[in-house]
Amino acid sequence: MKLQYVYILLLLPYLWACKPKAPIQEVNAGTADFSKFISIGDGHTAGYMDDGLCIEGQKNSLGYILQQQLMMVGAPAIEMPWMSDQNIGLNTNGLSRLILGYKTDCQGNSSLSPVRYSIQGETSAFSASAYNPLKKYTNFGIPGLRMIDMVSSIFGNLNFPQHNPFFARMSMDQYNFPGSGNFSSVQENIFNGGFPSFCTIYLGIEDVLPYAKSGANTNPMSPITGFPGVGFDESLGQLCEQLASQNVKAVIATIPNISQWPFFNTIPYNGLTLDAEKAASLNQIFNPIGISFVVGANPFIVSDPNAGMFGVRQALPGEKILLSVPLDSVKCNQMGSVFPFRNEFVLTLEELNEIQMRIDVFNELIRQKATTYGFAIVETDDFYQKLNTGFTYNGVAHSTRFVSGGAFSLDGIHLNPRGNALLANEFIRSINKKFNAKIPLINALNYNAILFP
């Protein structure tokens, strides 16, 4: 054998490269056109989280995260009514956002708990217009926006107490006609200066949520039927027709089962934990009306006008005690036992059923319209059900549990950045399927979950 052949044999393995070569990723918009993209929705789309709106939340909103990914396939730069760089946050009560901190309760115990970031929210945001006529908003996420608010002319009208200050600060009216008394609707703002080529619609949660948050006490749910601006069906229909008439492609989301969110599930119905002494003393009070207590876990006492002559009873399995209950009163002032939880802190089985039935009707209407107009649909409840069961994403467990579940923000209602990114992926999946697009999913681990001190 000649030596040169030997050398060739010895060098054979070198035909390999040293490092694996990255594949070329195929990315395209399919039949969709994202060049004039907007997202329409409520606080989820806007980035409301931790019970406030701040710039960090906006940059981690469902609308922002989704659009950022869609910029790979031609979506424009993101324009939102930015909050200040102070990042303090603001809600309609003038409060700042929540963070995790230490709170000393009535018994003197300090523990990790949601606390306000600052004594006051960045209230100046509500007294100045964020509108810029040179920039068109690509994100029409407005905290508190209901389906039936889309064509309302008082929604941004500062003269009405029920106006929405988050909308007022972004509406073109505030800039163009301060004090002029001219007030345009959300829809007019959206379509001002031309129709989008593609939009996402995630509305309907706010048509039921305020009612649920009030313990089915105030803030009635939107009516099912009625003219645009009154009933859910025609408000939805009018919006869809507007879009379809201009050949706007869209993805529309259904309403999840809100009662599984941490706001409604963090305090168990039987969270009244008693020692022998307390159980005995409560038995003295309640035994005469047929309620008895045991050592350990007991159902809370709730007021219910239909419950016998005293109007109190024990909470039932499945009933919800809301996160809005004053926990210090529970711990130190016998709220939920001697003093029953008032209606505003409880969702009864009947009320839960009423809310779910309304959501089901709204969702059926949304699905019908999506089918009629060829919109992609996102069944958000599928996502929330997975969360409710608990799932692992790239080695990280997520669930609906408050704080430790890692997907909800500290208000127990809105998703945190991680949750928004996971939900944005459901929108992308739906868009990819409907419009034959190839848009990569988002690495949700790049988004914060809960920050600890």
């Binding site: 054998m1 030596l3 030997v6 044999l9 010895l10 060098l11 054979l12 393995p13 070198y14 390999w16 490269a17 040293c18 490092k19 694996p20 990255a22 594949p23 990723q25 990315v27 995790l100 230490y102 990790l112 799932f391 692992t392 994403y393 790239n394 080695g395 990280v396 467990a397 890692g406 992926n425 990569p440 999913l441 988002i442 690495n443 681990l445 914060n448 979950a449 809960i450 920050l451 600890f452 001190p453």
Partner: protein
């Protein structure tokens, strides 16, 4: 916690870099005795060694792993330091009993470092794993007849391991918590062999290397977590164990003439002992519970073979070698982890030896492999394709007497 061990030249985490000459021929060698590496490949082969000798070699491993996440298309790579397995053999033919030979080997049959780039998508499964296992094997062989020998060695297996990963709890600045588990391990095993030379051109070898249970009894775990969670993640001790597999090898060697040698090995590797990776923390909390991660390895076959050609130049000999192999992956679908991004593997090797004089010779070899494996891990849901390219050029010196 999940831990597993990886090396470039391995099915699962079994390494076969033993003896530069054998490495040049596809890492086969149960029936071909050329130097002290037969202590590893087949202890019985020592009796058929022509000379007493000592061998020392080192094989730096340059391994690069790329992970392409299936849903995002994002690409992540490892930043592995160079692995440096070495082996040392001393083979002594008994002066008083010509049928007897004994020897000692010190080798690193398991060991490597896998380090993924910062922020990679699987960081909560693993960020860095480093493992070293040393095998110290005193061995003896005895020729029962002129044609058959038997050999046996006892294996002391000290080692150490360090596993790091990020924890999905975040500091106020958004950075993630981190955990490091480290500890020294110890295990014991044995290595048995039968070597048969019926006369003529053929040799047959059969060897059995026992499984070894590497047990970490006093491991340490250290956490870096936000203050608020410090009580949930107490630093402390833990125990764990790792089952290294048994390997049964049947080898054939044919020497049709003075220039050519052809050999082949079949391995049966008893991976199914590695079904779970468990960590038992001395202190448990609601956040820190003992873990049992399924691994579910199954037994596999691997095939290795090579040829050697002797070029005679004047009174010197140059041996050149070419080899390769194929091994099935012990990792079942659904259980692929980034610690051992294993797949069915084909590799090629080549090598060369040169005798400077009667006493000294020098060996060199090179090994190359590329492995591609796509999977979705059932436990972590990590879903994507791992591609590994590994190079291992080795060099060794030999001295005989």
């Amino acid at each position: 916690m999940s831990m597993k061990l990886t090396v470039a030249n391995a099915q699962g985490f079994q390494v076969n870099f033993q003896g530069q000459k054998q490495q040049g021929m596809g890492c086969a060698g149960a029936a071909f005795v050329q130097d002290g590496s037969t202590i590893f490949y087949n202890p019985a082969g020592m009796s058929f060694a022509k000379k007493s000798e000592a061998n020392l070699s080192i094989t730096p491993i340059f391994g690069n792993v790329m992970f392409v996440d299936s849903s995002t298309g994002d690409v992540y790579r490892t930043e592995n330091p160079v692995g440096t397995p070495f082996n040392a053999y001393v083979l002594q033919k008994s002066k008083n009993h010509h049928r007897l030979a004994y020897g000692l080997s010190i080798t690193t049959p398991f060991g490597s470092t896998v380090q993924y780039e910062p922020g990679w998508i699987g960081r909560f499964a693993i960020t860095r794993l480093s493992m070293k296992v040393f095998h110290i094997q005193p061995t003896a062989a005895f020729k029962i007849t002129d044609n058959i020998s038997i050999g046996a060695g006892f294996v002391f297996s000290p080692g150490n391991v360090s596993l790091q990963k990020d924890l999905p709890v975040q500091f106020n600045d958004g950075s993630y918590g981190h955990a490091e588990i480290s500890g020294a391990a110890m295990g014991y095993g044995y290595n048995l062999g039968v070597f048969y030379n019926p006369g003529g051109v053929l040799n047959v070898g059969l060897s059995y290397r026992s499984g070894i249970n590497m047990s970490v009894s006093d491991g340490q775990v250290q956490f870096s977590v936000p203050n608020a969670l410090a009580g949930n993640f107490p630093d402390g001790t833990l125990s764990a164990s790792l089952a290294l597999p048994s390997v049964t090898t049947l080898g054939l060697h044919i020497k049709p003439n003075a220039s050519w040698n052809v050999l082949a090995d079949i391995n049966y590797v008893g991976w199914n002992t590695y079904d779970t990776l468990a960590f038992d923390y001395a202190t448990n909390t609601s956040s820190l519970v003992d873990t049992k991660s399924p691994r579910m390895y199954h037994n596999i076959f691997a095939f290795r073979g090579g040829i050697q050609y002797a070029v005679f130049a004047k009174d010197k000999v140059l041996n050149v070698r070419l080899g390769g192999g194929f091994g099935f992956s012990p990792v079942q679908s659904g259980y692929l982890t980034p610690e051992t991004p294993d797949g069915n593997r084909a590799y090629v090797t080549s090598g060369v030896s040169y005798e400077f004089n009667k006493r000294f010779s020098l060996d060199a070899s090179i090994y190359a492999t590329k492995i591609t494996r796509a999977d979705k891990n059932l436990e972590t849901q990590l879903n994507g394709t791992f591609t590994t390219i590994a190079w291992a050029p080795g060099i060794g010196i030999n001295y005989n007497w």
